[in-house]
């Protein structure tokens, strides 16, 4: 019966299309077309000359050949993977750990922690970056002076000449901004585990370890998968933190895929090459987040 009426509706109504038309138009124009253009661009030589002449030169796979043969590309790719892995690992481990501890915290401490997390979560990225830059500034750093007060001799210190400490600080900014979302999501999920399930397991004689493994973990697992996938998607493309912390001119030791593509395009005006890097970046991401994308498609199907 329902399928019958729905079929009639499909045939007779045109106004659902009118309702989605403006949204669809803007999304296709601003998001859809650029995806298509990114692909074509990556097979072209497209620099200032070509922009002015409005005539791109088709190169076939030349851009990709040049990139894959360039050792710098592989270093940048490896650096991006390591940096992403570090940030995702730290933010997920710390975030999850905090969430699980929050269940066992005193109510007052938990409330203060929750408020602090929301405050940090609300910080605009640029505000967070500015504050961290200030905390690690060359002359007046509160961190350097605190370390010195503890008896070390760091003197004045440029934290960013060493790329390891530089990336640690930048990753710290990203993780600091990401932890509140992770902790609050996991904590919310933990509080939603049905009491009856836990009590039933306890009555059946399960130890707290067994309860965690057999009752809580299966409920939390999909949330972990989503949070890890989202973290990978967000952290892999980190741009602003690196760019602004290094005063809008990051040295090449700090290039990640996002910065590399940006510099090639907007710094050197090699838009075709930049697009090729960006495309490889999307492809690497697709591989890592395949599960999540399938999940999203499934949600789309079940809600249609």
């Amino acid at each position: 019966m329902t399928t019958l009426t729905s079929k009639i509706q499909v045939k007779r109504t045109y106004w659902p299309y009118l309702l989605i038309a403006p949204s669809l138009f803007i999304i296709l124009l601003i998001l859809g077309f650029p995806v298509f253009r990114l692909i074509t661009l990556s097979f072209q030589k497209f620099g200032l000359e070509e922009i002015i002449a409005e005539k791109p030169i088709w190169l076939g796979f030349e851009n990709f050949k040049v990139l894959l043969g360039d050792p710098e590309f592989w270093i940048v790719l490896l650096r991006t993977f390591l940096f992403t892995f570090g940030m995702v690992a730290v933010s997920i481990v710390v975030g999850a750990w905090l969430a699980h501890l929050m269940v066992r915290m005193n109510a007052v401490i938990r409330w203060i922690l929750n408020t602090t997390l929301i405050l940090v979560w609300a910080m605009p990225a640029l505000v967070g970056i500015s504050v961290w830059k200030w905390m690690f500034s060359y002359e007046f750093s509160i961190i350097t002076s605190t370390i010195n007060r503890l008896g070390f001799d760091f003197a004045q210190r440029n934290w960013f000449t060493n790329t390891f400490s530089g990336f640690s600080i930048i990753g710290g900014i990203v993780a600091w901004g990401a932890i509140p979302f992770i902790t609050i999501s996991i904590y919310a999920a933990l509080t939603q585990v049905p009491k009856e399930l836990l009590e039933a397991a306890a009555i059946d004689g399960a130890s707290s370890r067994q309860i965690f493994r057999n009752v809580i973990l299966p409920i939390l697992l999909p949330i972990y998968v989503i949070l890890i996938s989202l973290s990978i998607i967000w952290d892999f493309q980190v741009f602003t933190q690196i760019w602004v912390v290094l005063d809008n001119r990051p040295p090449s030791e700090y290039y990640t895929m996002a910065i590399y593509a940006f510099e090639k395009s907007f710094g050197l005006s090699e838009y075709g090459m930049g697009a090729a890097i960006a495309l490889l970046m999307i492809i690497s991401l697709l591989g890592v987040t395949w599960y999540y994308i399938r999940k999203m498609v499934a949600i789309g199907d079940s809600n249609a």
Partner: protein, 274 residues
Amino acid sequence: MHKRSSVFSNISGIFAIIFMGFPVYWMVSTSFKRREEVLSVEPRFLPTSLTLENYRDAFSREGFTTSLRNSIIVVLITVVISLLLATFASVAIARTKFRGKKSFITSLLVVQMLPLSALIIPLFLLLTKLQLTNKIGGLAITYVAFILPFTIWTLRGFLANIPVDIEEAALVDGCTRIQAYRYVLMPLMAPGLVATAIFAFIQAWNEFLLAYIIMQSQENLTLPVWLAGFTTRTGTDWGPLMAASTVVALPVVIFFSLIQKRIATGVTSGAVKG
């Protein structure tokens, strides 16, 4: 499932509060410190005296008023347009059946995962060609496109929880379809619209990369780009920068605390139910 509190959890909690909260504290406390105290090689955790001079400096700094004005205009346009379009689209997907609906919903969800820093290259070329760079309208339309998928999806969630019977009753009572939406559905959707509007506001207010690329000339900066420009070749005015950061963060903190619960459960709810 709260358990008895444990000492270890409480101590970890206190450490977490200190480490997570310190940057926020340091921003606010620096913003009220006198200049000599800000620029001290031996910074103190507590300010010895309070002053508003950093705020005065930040407000009178070049570009603050124009950036503030630009930010407000971009945010207003973005919120109004994205809310209007998202309302239409969400009614379509929550209340009607049409061919292609499944692919529309799926693309809404998948498109949100496109990395902005990859898309920015063709997007910039497109906007240049359409002569939309360096125009507030161009930035706003871009924001609308990036915000729409999430807003449509969120509003659809709100709509799904409003029983269809209510509108049908209105139709039976002689309303036209438009009237049923306007007078019956819209008031019920109000909380969802407010939450979505705040979300759009925060996104547009905070965004950096698109604004940085699209709005190049000095009189077209938005607040985040203006903040990023505090460090020049001659150095950084840390006191005023912290005052400006506090001011930029304030509206977001206020609005965010209003809708935080909804976002936290919204993102992961699909995992449990889907």
